[in-house]
Every structure is written in C-alpha cells, then in structure tokens.
Symmetry: C3
Subunit: 140 residues, 3 copies
C-alpha cells in the first residue's frame, strides 16, 4: 500500500556556488524503505535554485556560473530593487530562469537519476545563507 | 490512508503581469483536509507561466518583467511566427524559460512555502486572457 | 485505492530538435487504467530537456530554437568545458534554463494538458542520441 513521508534538508551555503545534495536525498529515500515511488523536492527560497546537472567535470558548473553571471550581471542598472544588495535582484532572476522544485521517480530503492545527473542547490547570493529543502516521499 | 482530489482554478488576466494565486490554492488544500501531502499545479497554456517568487516588495516582480522584456523584446525580428501578434512568440519563449507546472509539499495542512514565497500566474500576453490551472492534491 | 506504476520511454533523436512524446505518455496513462491521478516525467540526461509547448504551428518551435541558438551560441568563447564539442556546454546551459522533469495531472483517463500543449523532448546536442524518460504514474 502507498505511504508517504516528509523531511527537511538544511544546507549552509558559503555564498554563490553549487552544493550537491544527491547523497542527503538518496539517504532519505533509502531510510524510507520505498522501492518504487516519487520524491518531490521544494526549496523554500526565492534567490537560490534546485538544479539537476552534470556531476562529472566541475568545469561544467563553473561554465554555468559564467553564463548566468554574464546574462544577469550583478549591479545591472536595469534593476530598481537594489535595497538588498547588487546581487539580490540577479539572484531572483536566476531563480525564475531555473527552478525551486523537482519531482524525481524512485526506482530500485533509489532516485531514478541518470548516471551523470547530480542534484545541486545553487546559491545565487554572494553571502552565506541557510537554505531549507522540504522533501516529500511517496511510495511502497 | 492516502487519498487524492482534483480541482480547477480559473484566472482572468488583464494582460501582461503577475497574478497571485497562493490564496486560492491554499484554500483548496484547507478544504481537502490533508495535513501532509503533495500539491501539483499545472497551467494549461503555452504563453503564460506559473512562478514562485518573492511576495514582499512588488518592485522585484517589476524588475523580473523588465529583465524578461529586455531579454526577449516584443517584435524581435528574429521571430518568424508573427501571425498572432508581436507579443506572442516572446510569450512562448518566456514560458519555455520558466515553468507551467509546480510540485509543492503540503505540511501542517497548508502549502510548505517559504515565508517570502508566493505563487504567481505570470501572464505574458499583452491582452487579457482566461487561464486555467489544474490542481492535483494528494495526502492524508 | 491509489496505486502506482513506473515505465520507461526511449527516444532515439537525430540531433538537435523537438521530438513529440505526448502520444507515448498518453498511451501509458490509458493502459494504467487510472481515471484521475498524477504523471511525473523525468529525463535522465543533462544536455536535453522536457518541454511543454505549442503543438500547432511548427514555426513556434523553430523560433524557440532560433532564440536559444542566439542566446547561447555554439562555440561561445566564454566556455572552458569544450572537450565534448562546441555544442556540449550550450546544451547544458539550455537544460539548466528549461527542465528535465514535469508533473502533469491525469483527468478523465488522460493527461490534463491544454488543447495546444504538447510534450516534447528537446534534444540540444547536434548529433543523434538515445534518451531515456522515466515515467511515474499514480492514480485510481
């Protein structure tokens, strides 16, 4: 019979960059005992993202950062909402262009990710933040 | 025991802009009686988006609109699909760059959103439209 | 009572472009017998996307391709990760800007898509690839 469980994963970021959380989520799936099911991740913030990307060459993530920095430069004069710093509005735009929630099937007792897929919390603010991810697991 | 229910939320837009729907969705969650679960929202259109963004300073949303207007200008000569108006193809691109579906856990009988997160229907067309969101609730 | 099932859809792409998979997914939903429920699709790759977009005028998809090609040009000198070809890092950026998973309610025994919505696998690499989509169905 289908059951559900809910969890929280907290990530202390050290400023802009990628923080892999695949291990934490897979550990929750393993403990749930669900062999088949669905994992839903929701990040409770508007200036950071959840991103599934290549977990091999770290240069891929540096290039992603380079691209987003060029597309949405900190301190862009277009922005009026500047009271929280030069990097705040770019962080909101980066979040809008990516995602704060992910739905990933569970198969054989683990996340059904591809070989090269990792789950990252992408911090867009330049300063350190505490970020919270709510994890909903469903399965049997 | 896990149960599900399904609903429809209709939004009459007055043209390009953000329309908050957090209240309507939270009301459906409350009526479902689910204490823990999962809410999935799906917008049945290709020229508007569902976006989770800051619900505090409205200047954040105006800056998002400024950024997207600059990135994908109405009437851009790049586009060949112009028969539905100067704003139609930019609306499709905006939709591709954002999302039409969201999955949000339910905790303590309400959407597990962060303090500063609101759910918006982002209308990308310049004219008024009727938009439909299908809401699937699962929980117990 | 709620039940679940899980499936795999394989797509042989012939290089960059859009490959409609609505029919394959709707067929899985029909075979499941679920009248109401939730379908979750997850693409196991980091250089292709799942996109819901207009299924009518093919010029819309050609314009999407034109826009993304201009925004993220193959061979852009910004990128350092070039060992897998000029189109590889742009493919990762395109994937980050779109999505690899979708959650779509099931209503009346089929996907609750809008009239003009189709589900596409968007191949971002210039060469042919085999792509795998994991499909989780939940319903009754």
């Amino acid at each position: 019979m289908l059951r559900q469980s809910q969890h929280e994963v907290n990530v202390a970021t050290r400023g802009r960059g990628f923080y892999m959380i695949t291990g934490e989520i897979d550990e929750l799936v393993r403990k749930s005992g669900f062999k088949t099911g669905l994992a839903t991740l929701h990040l409770q913030h508007t200036s950071a993202s959840l991103l599934i990307q290549e977990n091999a060459d770290p240069e891929v993530r540096r290039d992603l950062e380079r691209f987003f920095s060029r597309l949405i430069p900190d301190g862009d004069r277009l922005f009026q909402h500047t009271c929280e710093g030069d990097d705040d509005m770019p962080a909101h735009v980066r979040t809008a262009l990516t995602a704060v929630n992910l739905g990933i099937p569970i198969a054989d007792g683990q996340l059904a990710l591809g070989n090269w897929q990792g789950i990252y919390l992408w911090e867009h603010r330049t300063h350190a933040h505490r970020r919270r991810v709510v994890v909903h697991l469903l399965g049997e």
